[in-house]
Symmetry: C2
Subunit: 204 residues, 2 copies
DNA sequence: CCCTTCAACGCACGATCGGTCGTTCGCCGG
DNA sequence: CCGGCGAACGACCGATCGTGCGTTGAAGGG
């Protein structure tokens, strides 16, 4: 208990801050990372603008912290469940199912957080875009890694290009994420599921 | 010449308005349709805020007119060249090539206009989203129509689902459009080209 | 030559933006 | 019991937002 500061209830210890950031991540998929204003976020969590703002040094820091929170959510809602499946094609399919499920369940109201902010920031250089690029690279790497495992297990042809396959797989997820809220048709998510499954089967 | 009002130079006849809208379409792919402000647009075309605003009744009308202008540009830069190819698989591939080319040439600085505004507005109901939905539906229909022609020509198996194939094709274009500006890697566009070509070949 | 027309202007409005104060108030350690 | 720490507050800053109003100036028709 020496270094532990204070385990009491007084030390909400960033609990409030975390609640703010989770709301920010949700709102950002609707309003955008730039369009999300401090005032709207404050009223969404039920506190004053200045009270909320005291937790962050600038809007940039708020944006970066929001991205980290969204990353944590994405890991626990998508990557974690996906990686729980046995290695190989099953794991790749599980990652895709988990992604499409989190879109359908509206974990973020505007669909995939990173697709939303990537579309918004991909032509706006700066630390925010850099961080998003890192995340997207990591996600694509996870898919590609799964495909390589499937190759080493003989479930996918050794002649296939894992990077190309990962691009196509991710493209179907992104395409479904974009079209699903626009048309409100769950059949679009099924299209993506079928597309990925058949694509991997074709590469066997 | 009875109905023609005045062909003189005084009647710039919407020429100015058209220049405004083309700039608006370009800016909207960077700032977003909501994020694009009248003031910034005005200074971009070199006129005063109120002078520009006199051409439109409201920001909503400006947004809708911007969409129509972007639609015209898209038709002349993508759909037209694509449809010039002979019917069948070649025409579908030409549509995709024309799309990826207009992304690479940065016809709109932020990539595909409709992908950008769809990502921004797909969870914001209203006439703007409705109009975007119509356009996206038309574009998907064009791809699907091309695939059906290819089927009737025997270039694609009669057992294939044109709607599913159109979804997958468009997804690769959207995926490339999102990732290309983010990483600045033209190889991503080639990935989409390869993906579409191989997918259609596999459905032969 | 005047008179209409109209694009474009400057200016101003209420609201909201990101951001900074000084202040209050409840908790906890000494 | 008291002093201090920190979370939250209301008020305010200059800038910018969308949107109106009244005017100016040049061009065209009678």
């Amino acid at each position: 208990m020496a270094t532990t500061p204070t385990p009491s209830r007084r030390r909400a210890d960033g609990e409030r801050r975390q609640a703010i950031l989770e709301e920010a991540a949700r709102l950002a998929t609707v309003e955008g990372l730039e369009g999300l204003s401090i005032g709207r976020l404050a009223s969404a969590v039920g506190m004053s603008k200045s009270g909320l703002y005291a937790h962050f040094k600038s809007k940039l820091e708020l944006q970066l912290a929001t991205i980290e929170t969204a990353d944590t959510v994405f890991r626990s809602e998508v990557v974690g469940p996906g990686l729980a499946a046995p290695a190989g094609t099953a794991r790749v399919l599980a990652l895709c199912d988990a992604f499409l499920s989190h879109v359908e369940r509206r974990t973020f109201p505007g669909g995939c957080f990173f697709a939303a902010v990537a579309a918004e920031m991909n032509v706006r250089p700066g630390p925010v875009r850099d961080r998003i690029g890192e995340f997207v690279g990591g996600w694509m790497g996870a898919i590609e890694g799964g495909i390589r495992e499937a190759q080493s297990l003989g479930e996918i042809s050794a002649g296939a290009d894992p990077s190309q396959l990962a691009f196509e797989t991710n493209a179907m997820l992104i395409g479904a994420n974009l079209a699903f809220p626009l048309f409100g048709d769950p059949g679009i998510l099924e299209r993506a599921r079928v597309g990925v499954r058949e694509r991997l089967r074709g590469a066997a």
